[in-house]
Symmetry: C2
Subunit: 335 residues, 2 copies
């Protein structure tokens, strides 16, 4: 069956968490003391969020949320984007909404009440620039399926979803609805596996989405895809997964990234970075760059390169949103 | 009359604004459009704060407040500090209180209610690294005199006050009470003139404090001291003011800084900075370094050098609170 697709108003519509990052420096001893697994994301409740915040150092607050970061990057690269995410009616909600809109992204989901508050992610950045994330989901986990507007999904060339959002029932239902709407309208569905522990929690469901053909473009890192396939063999995991999606993108930190598409593997080296400060958002911005190139119908190599450029920029400073003009960086490289 | 002074529990007690900075990049055209005077601080009301925030770009939130920044620097340099400042019972108030306490500073003023909200300063940083500040004072202007605890002031070797706080009646009364208590207990009073427009608004009162011998250590920049003395002659302004205080410190941006003390002028060059990113907090951190050296009974030259080191660190990144270990930077230079 061929679906007649209308001209898309948006390049990317994302359903994601609405989170403000609270970013502090920490040493390895602090992670140990707090029993935190370096490099991972842990979900925490309000009481734990309060305790951990009290114990951590001075912080800066910068809007985050995986899918929102990806849209911020894509928007900076010139793409038209819209976000579906849930904030509360509080100051952090205002901060999140302001930063999204100031990036040129449409964001029309009304805040919930005052409680639960807007989600925050307590991020500890160690001297090796690794980030360890502790997320209090707050209002974000109550994103209702009713926030997913059929016209909005139909008007986006790509629907982008974050695996992180699979933990709560309401956003999961919202994303499932989004996938159905996208498919009904002949739109592409992109999905990120988000985090190794997240894949652990939802392996069967993620694998089901993939095997059911619901995911067109899958983003992953090495740990996530090996966890998904329950194997230590990276190449086998790539081969197995690539066979089930149109495009599989796997980021490999300092080893660069690969894309599997049409039976071929494309690869790119990591971009050089003068000094890596904070790796928060590296994967999100890689996805932003890749998808931006995809929307421009660029080659796989170019899509990977734009991803690598965007990721390199975001790890050169604190926070997961781009600070430099990514469009100029890409233009300087690829024209 | 010689006042018997007890051993001080605190090196510095400050009465200051409790502000969270909202820092965004902006170009000169935006400043022009918004009719903002580059490099200055403008007081704005809630409606203007809302409008300006809507129009400005994506931001990062970092605790600020002039006196609070100075204490954060002094605390990082190893001084014992306490802050008297007013937040509201809201998320930005929690952020401010957390960051102050996480720096090791005692802060015991209870939040006011929900409204007015915690103060914020919308800071626009232009590509030349200059900051243009727009402050909505919110709860901060309602710091009551009752928050100034006599024992606290008596227990601080130095009482530090910011001129910015002179705009609202209640904090002004709180500072006046603080000065009296400090003097009664044989403590030093340090004061910063804060901003040229601030000096314009309160010239007679500031001059009165100085001529009445209420200020022991005065911090200023070139524009402020010339405005105070209503002269274009920098040397004359320094000579006139230095005669009325124990120590006069004048920062001169890239020209370094001077201290006038005991009939002598001491000077120091600006510290080299690889790349100046955001000049917010330069004066605050200079004061932090200088006072920290003063508390350690260091020479005037060393006090100036520590001030210059702290200022150089804070202008090398966004935000007005130190990110590096200032103590180590000073140790590497002065031992």
């Amino acid at each position: 069956m061929t679906i007649e697709t209308a001209e898309a108003r948006y390049d990317i519509v994302a359903i994601g968490n609405a989170i403000v990052d609270v970013i502090a420096q920490a040493d390895d001893a602090f992670l140990e003391e707090e029993q935190l697994a370096k490099g991972s994301m842990t979900l925490i409740d309000a009481a734990r969020a309060e305790d951990l915040y009290r114990d951590m150092g001075t912080a800066r607050e910068i809007s985050g949320g995986s899918g929102a970061n990806t849209l911020a990057g894509a928007s900076t690269l010139g793409r038209q984007c819209a976000l579906v995410a849930q904030v509360a009616d509080d100051q952090l909600g205002e901060v999140f909404a302001h930063d999204i809109r100031a990036t040129g992204i449409d964001f029309d989901v009304a805040p919930l009440g005052k409680e639960p508050p807007t989600a925050r992610c307590l991020i500890l950045v160690t001297p090796d620039a690794q980030r360890t994330m502790n997320t209090f989901l707050g209002a974000s986990q109550f994103l209702p399926a009713s926030s997913v507007d059929a016209d909005l999904i139909a008007s986006g060339a790509i629907l982008y979803l974050e695996g992180y959002l699979w933990d709560a029932e309401q956003p999961k239902a919202a994303m499932a609805l989004g996938i159905d709407l996208a498919k009904q309208n002949g739109r592409k569905v992109a999905f990120t596996l988000s985090d190794g522990f997240c894949v652990d929690r939802h392996r069967d469901e993620f694998a089901g989405l993939i095997s059911d053909g619901k995911i067109d473009i899958l983003f992953s890192n090495e740990a996530e895809i090996m966890s998904l396939c329950e194997t230590d063999d990276f190449d086998a995991a790539v081969a197995q997964t690539a066979a089930q999606v149109e495009i599989l993108v796997v980021t490999r930190s300092e080893k660069g990234a690969i894309a599997a598409h049409g039976g071929k593997i494309y690869s790119v080296a990591a971009e050089p970075v003068e000094k890596i400060i904070d790796t928060t958002g590296a994967g999100d911005l890689f996805a932003a760059g890749f998808l931006s190139g995809y929307c421009e119908k660029r080659s796989m190599e170019d899509c990977l390169t734009i991803g690598a450029i965007a990721a390199a920029e975001v790890i050169s400073h604190y926070g997961a949103r781009p600070e430099a003009n990514l469009r100029e960086l890409v233009k300087a490289r690829l024209g």
